[in-house]
């Protein structure tokens, strides 16, 4: 998995209150499994997955597939002991912001996470996907889909109701985030805003290759 055979390395960061299911969510995405036992391995702090991204040309023809190496970073729960620092946020290109549909407080705290992101991420409007997790626990639901969608709309970010337990919309949420990021890269004429290390091209010589203008603004995403 860690061999160098890819075009871009993109780092995602999973955020949200403790207990909303960040680790399980990432585990479900990379391994397609739910691990209900909590993972006690100290030192594993990110998971990886290789995906192929295809952007479509203006004529609808699909372009060359780009091999993306996605790194998904998790917190270790250190946010209970200290605030997450700028250093923690700054290397991430995209953010999965999770809350627990059965825990209203975790939903109310989305606001705080958003302002932390706006403060510490590489720019004021980074790409974020909001996920209401644990949607399989319908009878314990404490946050309605309507209010969650309203909040996401207010911030102008996509929203998914996900289940790390059964996998519902987990990969869709990550795919949409990847799509937003690839589109951002294609869109930007002046790419100087891209922080060092967030996007790394592989086997190419420097920025020109990353910034190579793509044929279109139109990607595969339907959102």
């Amino acid at each position: 998995m860690s061999d160098g055979d890819y075009d871009y390395l993109i780092k995602f960061l999973a955020l949200g209150d403790s207990g909303v299911g960040k680790t399980s969510f990432l585990y479900q995405y990379t391994d397609g499994k739910f691990n209900s036992k909590f993972i006690t391995t100290v030192g594993i702090d990110f998971r990886e997955k290789r995906v192929v991204y295809k952007s479509n040309g203006p004529d609808g023809a699909s372009g060359r597939g780009q091999r993306i190496h996605v790194q998904l970073w998790d917190t270790a729960g250190q946010e209970r002991f200290r605030s997450l620092t700028t250093a923690f946020f700054r290397d991430a290109m995209g953010f999965l912001l999770l809350f627990d549909l059965t825990n209203e407080q975790s939903f109310l705290n989305v606001r705080n996470w958003m302002s932390q992101l706006q403060m510490h991420a590489y720019c004021e409007n980074p790409d974020i996907v909001l996920c209401g997790n644990k949607c399989d626990l319908q009878e314990q639901r404490a946050v309605s889909e309507v209010e969650a969608r309203e909040l996401a709309e207010k911030y102008g970010i996509p929203y998914f109701e996900t289940s790390a337990a059964n996998g519902q919309f987990v990969s869709e949420a990550v795919d949409v985030l990847l799509d937003l990021i690839m589109k951002r890269m294609e869109r930007c004429v002046d790419k100087s805003w891209i922080p060092d290390g967030t996007v790394r091209s592989n086997g190419h010589s420097g920025h020109e290759d990353i910034m190579e203008p793509k044929s279109s603004e139109k990607g595969k995403c339907a959102c």
């Binding site: 403790s18 207990g19 909590f38 250190q78 700028t86």
Partner: protein, 128 residues
Amino acid sequence: MASKPVWEQIGAGFVQHYFQQFDSDRTKLADLYTDASCLTWEGIGYQGNKAIMEKITSLPFQSIQHSITAQDHQPTPDSCVMSMVMGQLKADADQVMGFQQTFLLKNVDNKWICTNEMFRLALHNFGA
């Protein structure tokens, strides 16, 4: 047990008491700090009983368990005891994390209090 140096006994006794209180009812730790005590918690400094207790009691978890892996104690030139603890902790249902904590203990009016304390999680890949 009797052959252990006195600073070992004092340090080990303190560590046992401290973490037992921390895990059962953190508010009771107030007895250990004076207005001159200093705490550095993940790089942020707090001075005085009130500020220290505010920090400790406001940590956002319902339950916490500490497990001490190793501890070392030394006497200092001014008759204090310096203690270093290495261990693991688990807050609510989070994953287990390593931590290190250092204490300086002083005898004031026949009672051991904590004049200095430093805490760090043993995490290395999450930025400063």
